[in-house]
């Protein structure tokens, strides 16, 4: 901008700004879209269209999967083990992938929540030294931004090290396989961690500082304040983050393929009950859908649709739970902010 256009300060009060008056249309008492300028009308229409489009896509996916899924979904599919057969009628259901999804989700979220809550609490309540806080912050940002396939590859390299031999199948020569529910669960926790972290941090930051001071003023230590006041206040935020994170874990494929083996059935490893399954490989609904899609080796699209529908139900159900938590906490008067899905 030309500097000379700026008037010197001593020029006195500015004359009132005169803009050419707009064409006076038919004056209306109530503003309505017909009184708007045409550019505004177009913008408004575009916003409407964008909203409707997103809605239509979402509804389209659900409806199509429902149509296909209900067409092929039989209760028996949910309760029978899958089998590799040439004859489609003998390949069974997807009980194993369903159990695999649940197991992996629970494992991942159980690892992610304590880690994320602890990190978020430290960032908000302590964050000393400041440089370390900055590093932690960007560390979590990096995890959030890393593609899941990269996380999977990194996990494979990591868990094939000797010291992690107890987590997965180890061959006689000492070569560690690196693929198991344990290793996949560890990496899956990284998928959920940023979401739990972000929602917990947001909740803690929303607590006004005088609430903390009220606790200190009653002679409580910082630790007691965090444990008895702050963390209970952000329960709803933690649950919201956890539910969103579980949805992400349930929907992830790359880590399942690389780190879980994406086998058709659960194949336990070793002899310790319980740990056998965790140490073994398996598959989830996502890998089952992938393998049964025309792209995979199973090529049984009907079953892929049925499994995809079940997966969709799980994820939509989790989102519903998020909504429920947010609403019930809003009712009880707790301040909480809904964290949008990434």
């Amino acid at each position: 901008m030309d500097r000379t256009l700026i008037p010197p300060e001593a020029a006195g009060p500015l004359p009132p700004l005169r803009t050419p008056p707009r064409q006076d249309r038919k004056r209306r008492v109530n503003e309505s879209i017909s009184t708007w300028r045409w550019t505004d009308r177009i913008g408004y229409g575009l916003m409407w269209a964008a909203g409707l489009l997103v809605c239509a896509i979402g509804i389209g996916i659900v409806l199509y999967m429902m149509f296909r899924g209900l067409q092929y979904l039989r209760p028996s599919l949910l309760f029978s083990h899958p089998q590799a057969e040439l004859d489609q009628s003998k390949t069974g259901g997807f009980l194993d992938p369903l159990l695999g999804t649940i197991l992996l989700t629970v494992l991942g979220i159980c690892l992610a929540v304590p880690l994320a809550v602890a990190a978020a609490t430290w960032i908000v309540e302590y964050a000393r030294p400041a440089w370390l806080a900055r590093i932690v912050d960007s560390g979590i940002e990096i995890i959030a931004g890393t593609p899941d396939i990269v996380i999977a590859l990194f996990g494979l390299v990591l868990f094939q090290q000797r010291i992690f031999g107890w987590m997965s199948f180890t061959a006689q020569g000492g070569a560690v396989f690196g693929r198991s529910f344990l290793t996949a669960g560890c990496m899956m926790s990284l998928i959920a961690l940023p979401m739990v972290f972000a929602s917990t941090r947001e909740g803690l930051q929303a607590i006004p500082s005088h609430v903390r001071e009220a606790s200190y003023a009653l002679g409580k230590t910082k630790a007691a304040t965090i444990r008895r006041v702050l963390l209970p206040s952000v329960k709803a935020n933690i649950s919201t983050g956890a539910a969103l994170g579980m949805g992400r874990i349930a929907g992830d494929t790359a880590i399942v393929v690389v780190l879980l083996g994406a086998t058709l059935t659960l194949s336990p490893e070793g002899s310790v009950p319980g740990l056998r399954v965790l140490k073994g490989t398996g598959g989830t609904l996502t890998s089952y859908v992938y393998n049964n899609s025309p792209a995979g080796e199973g090529n049984a699209p009907q079953k892929a649709y049925a499994a995809a529908f079940v997966l969709l139900l799980i994820v939509v159900g989790l989102n519903f739970v998020v909504d429920l938590i947010a609403r019930s906490s809003a009712k009880s008067g707790l301040e909480t902010s809904r964290l949008g899905a990434r």
């Binding site: 006004p208 609430v211 009220a214 200190y216 003023a217 009653l218």
Partner: protein, 320 residues
Amino acid sequence: MIERDEEQASAQDPTDPRAEMLPPPVRRIRLDAQPTVALPPLTDAGVDADGRAPGASGLPARTARATPAGRERMTLKSLSVFYGDNEAVKQVSLAIREGEVLALIGPSGCGKTTLLRTLNRLTELTPSARRTGVIRIDGTDVDDIEVTTLRRRVSMVFQQPNPFPMSVFDNVAYALREQGAKRPKKKVLEPYVIEALRRAGLLDEVKDKLDHPALRLSGGQQQRLCIARALAAGPEVLLMDEPCSALDPKSTEVIEDLILELRQSLAVVIVTHNLQQAHRVGDNVAFMYLGDLVEYGPADQLFGNPVAERTRDYVRGAFG
């Protein structure tokens, strides 16, 4: 913290545009004048309940005071508090006695809240804050008392009602539950919780809903719950930072009555922007301006016949 700093900065800057937008009449205050501190001797101020200043005749009636001033609970000797280089409280000496209400008044950013928060060492939470001078409670330097113990003895109520997100019972019991040690059973705590709620005048309203979430109470009830919570810790001194400024007149009245009742058993220090309130509840009033303690004395005298010029200007609404 940041807010307060800004507040102070703006209050100390006479060229601040916001200061010039105040409604007339704005009288110039001689900022460079020697502080006209009019301190009565620390030992007998406020004792004299009957000898109210003659200038008080034009003032509205106050609640009758029958309590003789008790012994000195807290003593402040040339207390200064700094935020960075900014001296928020300058060389203040005061005494806080049992059985009296000390009201701190003054314009925004004059250091009253800082002074209040220093009494239970809450200012230490502000990284840039520094303190010089001596604060004694019952003759012991507050720095020699473990900070959690001190804050149990000198409890505080805040401007915003801030009950914790738990039940009414747990809010009050929170102060009672010692940390670390074994948590006492609900049955053991119950009489203490009931007693604290009764003292805060809240028992009748909440006795059927002790298990309800505290955040469902009304604003005035929440503030009284915060007072109950502070009382449950068994304090000797109760600090109140504008406890009524977020409340409606009716709740304010209830809390003022409560303060007058509480002062019989403990020392109350209240910060307020409301001069009428300071006059209604305060036995002694301290007027602070830009960090200085300008005048300190019995409420009637300070409002009716102030000694210092700045106090006169302030209580007549000339600035603030």
